[in-house]
């Protein structure tokens, strides 16, 4: 599947907006700048900017616009990743990647098509520009790259609803940019994962920022956990598979759609309301209230077919790779009801 080479000349302006591009790294290298010897005045502004980004990611998921200075921006991006690596909290990394990708989404929308295509290709998406666009679409995305990066597995994004041919999916500019946003989230996380900090002499200014951010994050985390605690199960005990999904969610892992479905259907079936279930999903960094509400209401049978979905049986959980124990039950709900009954009997025994 040969993809035409895209001819795009990147300017300093592009590096400033897209500091994840290889050109940005090249530039930092060209300037001879390594973390160990950023000069004091530049270091201060770089650290200040990284602080702004990380704090914004924690508070609101909205990053301020990029710096006017392209070297400062490229370095601030790297320093942010470095600090994320030092703290190494999956959920925080996810929050940053979500916030950062969202900003890139907005910037990319105002670029011309060939620049968009270039940035997407740098994110690993095989992409073609369509000159005379049939049906008004200007982009074609490799089908496998497409399905790996769909933001929502329904509606217009469902592959069956797309114009698909010979391994390519047609997409509008907004859609292409949105796919790029998803790819970027993953790329940022992989980037942090892949950083090696041992053996690197890290300037004190960066270390102390890491401490500040880490403290701020643990406060935020406590708030999230408290919201969680008030959602503790009534009655029965959750089976290990459901607890594992909840733990992953809390740890900010990107949990697959099947796990989200299993969790939502389970919680609804043990009597939680749609709002209570949404509260549980809220700690996911890519939480989108509108989409999540739609999905949960759908599972609850308030939309679409009107039928309430029951959670997967253990057999299905196993094939989905979601079963984590052998509980001797056929259904995760059975585990819950059993323990609830045991709890109730225990209570009676104590009264006698």
């Amino acid at each position: 599947m040969a993809v035409d080479k895209l001819h795009v000349v990147l300017s300093a302006e592009d590096v400033r907006k897209y500091p994840f591009l290889p050109e940005a790294l090249e530039r930092v290298r060209y300037l001879g700048l390594t973390i160990e010897d950023i000069a004091a005045p530049l270091l201060r502004s770089v650290v200040e900017r990284a602080a702004k980004y990380l704090e914004a990611a924690i508070d609101s998921l909205e990053l301020p616009p990029p710096s006017e200075d392209c070297d400062e921006e490229a370095l601030a991006y790297l320093v942010s990743l470095l600090i994320l690596k030092i703290i190494s909290d999956k959920m925080l990394i996810r929050r940053f990647s979500v916030a950062f990708s969202k900003r890139v989404f907005r910037l990319l929308l105002s670029e011309d098509n060939s620049k968009v295509a270039y940035v997407l290709s740098q994110l690993g998406l095989r992409v073609k520009l369509l000159g005379a666009a049939p049906s008004g679409y200007t982009f074609a995305i490799n089908v496998f790259d497409y399905i790996e990066n769909i933001p929502e597995r329904r509606g217009q994004w469902k592959l069956a609803h797309r114009l698909v041919e010979a391994g390519w999916v047609l997409a509008s500019k907004v859609e292409a940019v949105r796919l790029g946003e998803e790819a970027l989230k993953k790329a940022v996380e992989e980037r942090v994962e892949g950083l090696r900090v041992d053996g690197v002499r890290i300037p004190d200014a960066i270390y102390s920022l890491a401490e500040v951010i880490s403290r701020k994050w643990s406060i935020k985390l406590r708030e999230i956990r408290e919201a969680w605690a008030s959602e503790a199960p009534r009655g029965g005990e959750f089976p290990p598979c459901i607890r594992a999904i909840i733990d992953d969610l809390k740890a900010g892992k990107n949990i697959p759609h099947s796990a989200r479905f299993a969790l939502a259907a389970f919680l609804l079936n043990v009597g939680m309301s749609v709002d209570e279930v949404l509260e549980v999903f809220k700690s996911a960094p890519d939480f989108n209230e509108r989409v999540a509400r739609y999905q949960v209401e759908h599972i609850a049978g308030m939309r679409g077919s009107g039928k309430r979905y029951s959670p997967y049986k253990c057999d299905n959980m196993r094939t989905l790779g979601l079963c984590v124990a052998e509980c001797g039950v056929k259904h995760p709900l059975q585990y819950y009801w059993r323990s609830a009954r045991r709890g109730a009997q225990g209570g009676q025994a104590a009264q006698q």
Binding site: M1, P134, S135, N142, V143, F144, I147, E148, I150, R153, R154, G155, Q156, K158, L159, A160, H161, R162, L163, V164, E165, A166, G167, W168, L170, P256, H257, S258, N316, T319, L320, G321
Partner: protein, 371 residues
Amino acid sequence: MGRPPSSEVALRLFRSYYRSLKADEVNVTELSRREFAFSYFGEEGMHRHIAFGSTVQLLAHLAERAPRHAFYSTAYYRDPAAKNMDEKGWEGSDLVFDIDIDHVETPCKELHDRWVCKSCGASGWGAPLACPRCGSESIERHAWVCETCLSVASDEVLRLIELLESDFGLSGDEMLVTFSGHRGFHVHVEAPAVRELNQDARREIVDYIRGVGLEPDYMLVKARGGYRLRAETYGWYGRCARWAIVKAGVENPTLSKREWEDLLRECVKREAVAVDERVTIDTRRLIRLPGSLHGKSGLRVARLSVQDLEGGSVLDKVKVFIRGEAVVEFEGEPPRRILDLEVGYSTRVLPLYAALYLLLNGAKLSKFELK
């Protein structure tokens, strides 16, 4: 307690087969990164977490142990012999499709499948979903395959290949098509482009192939007097457009929402391929080893070409013990047709491959002797 004599015979036959098996009949790409698993005659359970450095080593093991069932992983692992998943180190997985005769409608099930209702004890021919007498779904089934079901399922495989080529841009030489050894077919896509796909992405592919979740609202545009298709040449739109021509007699007709819904339903029914979702989304699955024999049929998990599937020569590729005969006596009523043979209560002498199939798939025999 000794080994039952039937497995004695089967073991001997399997061993003779494996001793002459050639390396090019075992089609395993990157063999040293795969996990293997076997079960053996006269033993319970499955031996897992086995790895081989080369095809030669694998062949030696097959010749020595003549396993009853042989599997390998669709996944590639850093250390395929490690006992747990974390240590194994998953490094991608082929994209695999399973087409099972059970999920394809065939007329011949009446001729060879038996059922017994566990609730009321009724029994009969065919493959009903629920007991026709009491409605219970707990039914015990005894299923067999014949030429007819294999050819219906072959058509399904051909449509899958067509769809993978036309819509997903895959080429025939990126696919390995095999007989599953008993009740269906496997299509292994080994292209690097698919190896890293996660479960969600694989599910999207399955939904596409099965036409799951197709909603007219996303496919239609308003036109004067009704609706038309948004496009006519791509993917499901193209399939739908072809059906519309058949149904309405004109290209891209303007129809009501209701008419489009009916048309779409019919189009999906005819054009979707009944692949087993669980197999495709499982990225750590064990699957039949190409070139091995299936322990419930004695048939070969043979590699098949499009020509084999089109020309109906599947059975020729998968029958192994075509020379020799066996004398059998039935205890109960035998399936009326198996593979390419008609069978009856009074049948006494059968070709070896057919007799072995009856023996391995649990027909009640009071006599089985090699002639």
